[in-house]
């Protein structure tokens, strides 16, 4: 599994959402997309999930252009978790997760597909919710269900668009630990758009930093998530704190010299 994003540009009308972004993804890697609101993280993830067509540039999956590939075949290899969730009333948790197996179900649901759903539930530790309706769940539980759907899909590439935003810190760490474990045991890779820079710093192997759709940082977390880089992109003074648990990023205050940027 190797994904190469090359000179990717996506415009909405005249407004460029991402401009000439390139990076690579290798098996067992977790790639974090960071950047302020409106920097193009979601657009990049959605383009990689073939939800949007790019204006120019290319994305190849094992050498194959994903925009000309068979969408049904591609769907077995890419698992996407959106930022905003949609579910219908009267849907149960396990049926929602079962949709992850859509590409393996012709008409009737085999025992094997149900086993996959069970495994995904167990992996995320939410099997006690299996029979509940989606509208009975809390926001965090719901988010875990959608992550479980992607796990049930068992893809080679996970695309997560801020999937942990509704989770409390304990569950955020849980999910990231699970995803690190899953990517390693299944030889898969994960691209995750994330706002929490410490989460990116702790779990990502590669960080892509975006600002106004342009790649402004690319490399190991230690090289990209630096106080000076954060100050430049976010306009926030940050410092590195080192203690017995490791190194942590600590955003301190708004940089008073930088004008307020409302984003797009």
């Amino acid at each position: 599994m190797e994904v190469i994003v090359s000179q990717l540009t996506k415009r909405y009308g005249d407004i460029p959402a991402i401009a000439g972004v390139s990076f690579e993804v290798h098996p067992q890697e977790i790639v974090a997309l960071v950047g302020p609101n409106g920097s193009g993280k979601s657009t990049l993830i959605k383009t990689m999930a073939t939800i949007y067509n790019p204006t120019s540039g290319s994305i190849t999956f094992d050498g194959e252009d994903i925009f000309t590939a068979d969408p049904v075949d591609l769907a077995t290899r890419v698992g996407y978790v959106p930022q905003h969730f949609t579910y219908t009333l009267y849907s149960s948790v396990f049926e929602t997760i079962l949709l992850g197996r859509r590409r393996h179900i012709k008409w009737s649901v085999s025992a094997e597909e149900l086993t996959r759903v069970q495994e995904a539930l167990d992996t995320l530790g939410i099997s006690h919710l299996a029979g509940k309706n989606m509208d009975q769940l809390s926001g965090g539980e719901r988010q875990k269900v959608f992550i479980a759907r992607a796990l049930a899909q068992d893809p080679a590439l996970y695309l997560f668009d801020e999937p942990t935003s509704a989770l409390d810190i304990r569950h955020q760490i849980d999910v990231m630990e699970i995803m690190r474990e899953v990517t390693q045991s299944h030889n898969a890779a994960m691209i995750i758009a994330v706002h929490d820079l410490n989460l990116a710093y702790r779990y990502a192997d590669v960080v892509v930093m975006l600002d106004h759709g342009i790649r402004v940082g690319y490399g190991k977390p230690d090289n990209v998530l630096t106080p000076s880089g954060i100050e430049r992109v976010y306009g926030v003074t940050a410092c590195m704190v080192e203690n017995e648990y490791g190194r942590f990023l600590l955003p301190v205050r708004r940089d008073p010299r930088k004008p307020a940027d409302t984003g797009r």
């Binding site: 969408p71 769907a75 959106p82 219908t88 149960s92 049926e95 069970q118 167990d122 099997s127 006690h128």
Partner: protein
């Protein structure tokens, strides 16, 4: 359950189904209790295989019950009316009619089927049942099914619990088309394409219904449209076409006006074997197509983005599904006039009872829609016999009360 036609007994029939269905699934009223149980043994896993098996059983049970009720209601409905016919006579008459029809289709069957059925006690039973009541029953069943399926599919494809052929203005549009066809008359064009008067109306109703669907679809697609805007747009489009219908009424002459008014009231007056024979193949083909799209509709529930990432061509699926649903609904509406309610309520009631899996939801909803319309029509034509009252009156009262009852019982809490 001897008589399913009175509104009182009707409710108790459904009450019984609900009770039987509930036994296998905790209702929302019990949600608190269930939640407590879950927290108590949060470590204990619920087995997906078991849950799925139970769910399937419950769904098949509902479909089985509905099939049984529909057959029973049909036989009862064929027996009651201005002339009462005993169930035995009804069955004999239907048997006789079926054999005759089979022989008409395949003449050689005359030598194969040699059983002679005993003559019914009432000598007119055959004529009354086969010529008058059966086509009407079948038309009610087909229309109920079509509207309910169209409603289910529209709700699924547009992911909006409030849409139905009626709320999206499609019924009004189809009515406008049919009114146009009636006022213009078949004329040269129909003769040119060998169209009967019925298929001429169907064609107009479909084109007009489809036009309204395209409008709705365009509005649904444009950016910044939310679910409420869609309903609002549907209502407005409905009024636009109603204005057209009013104009046609105003402009048409005496004969046309009478035909138009009867038609617009909605009802099974237009029932004939011609209509039924035209509708049966349309309905079967459309139902099969829509049923085969079940999994795509299930996946669309996860949102357009996720559905796309799962390799579904969202736009094409939605357009095609809406087109088929519009076609089947407007075909039936062309014969019955505007009938609301079934398309909205039947899918909802079924969703509440068996969830969102369209593989089961579509047939269950079709059967329930057929049952609602058939029972309502039977009541409408017998309650003040020999005077008929419009089916809408009965249906809105029975169905509306039942739906309110469901909401008040708590099953529908948090519906929207």
């Amino acid at each position: 359950m001897n008589d399913c036609s009175g509104s009182g007994t009707r409710l108790s029939c459904i009450e019984e189904i609900l009770l039987r269905l509930r036994t296998s699934k905790p209702s929302r009223q019990n949600a608190k209790q269930t939640m407590n149980e879950t927290t108590k043994n949060s470590g204990s896993a619920q087995n997906v295989h078991l849950l799925y098996g139970e769910g399937t059983k419950r769904r098949l049970l509902l479909i089985g019950i509905l099939v049984f009720l529909l057959i029973t209601a049909s036989i009862i409905s064929a027996g009651i009316g201005t002339v009462s016919i005993s169930p035995a006579d009804t069955l004999l008459a239907i048997g006789e009619g079926t054999r005759n029809a089979a022989i008409v289709v395949v003449p050689s069957l005359n030598n194969v089927i040699t059983i002679t059925l005993p003559a019914p006690e009432n000598p007119q039973a055959g004529i009354i049942v086969n010529n008058f009541r059966l086509p009407r029953i079948l038309l009610a069943i087909l229309t109920g099914m079509s509207l309910a399926v169209a409603g289910t599919v529209m709700q699924g494809l547009l992911r909006n619990p409030l849409v139905s052929p009626f709320t999206l203005g499609m019924s009004s549009a189809a009515a406008f088309g049919a009114a146009m066809a009636i006022v213009i008359g078949p004329g040269i064009a129909a003769t040119l394409f060998f169209l009967s008067y019925e298929s001429w109306i169907v064609l107009f109703a479909f084109v007009s219904g489809w036009l309204s669907m395209l409008l709705i679809y365009g509005i649904a697609r444009s950016r910044g449209t939310n679910q409420a805007t869609l309903i609002l747009a549907g209502v407005v489009i409905g009024y636009l076409f109603q204005a057209g219908v009013l104009a046609l009424k105003y402009l048409s002459n005496n004969d046309k006006l009478r035909e138009l008014t009867t038609w617009l009231m909605g009802g099974m007056w237009g029932a004939s074997w011609d209509a039924v024979i035209l509708l049966i193949p349309c309905c079967i083909v459309c139902f099969i197509i829509l049923e085969s799209m079940s999994w795509d509709m299930n996946t669309l529930a996860a949102g357009d983005d996720v559905a796309k990432s799962m390799g579904i061509n969202v736009e094409r699926t939605r357009l095609f599904g809406l087109m088929v649903a519009t076609f089947v609904a407007s075909c039936c509406l062309a014969f019955t006039g505007i009938i609301g309610f079934v398309g909205l309520m039947s899918p909802h009631i079924c969703r509440m009872l068996i969830g969102n899996d369209h593989r089961y939801l579509i047939p269950a909803s079709a059967l329930l829609g057929a049952l609602i319309l058939l029972v309502s029509d039977t009541v409408a034509r017998t309650i003040l016999s020999p005077v008929e009252i419009p089916v809408g009156i009965v249906m809105y009262i029975i169905g509306g009360l039942f739906f309110l009852y469901l909401i008040l019982r708590g099953r529908g809490r948090g519906l929207y």
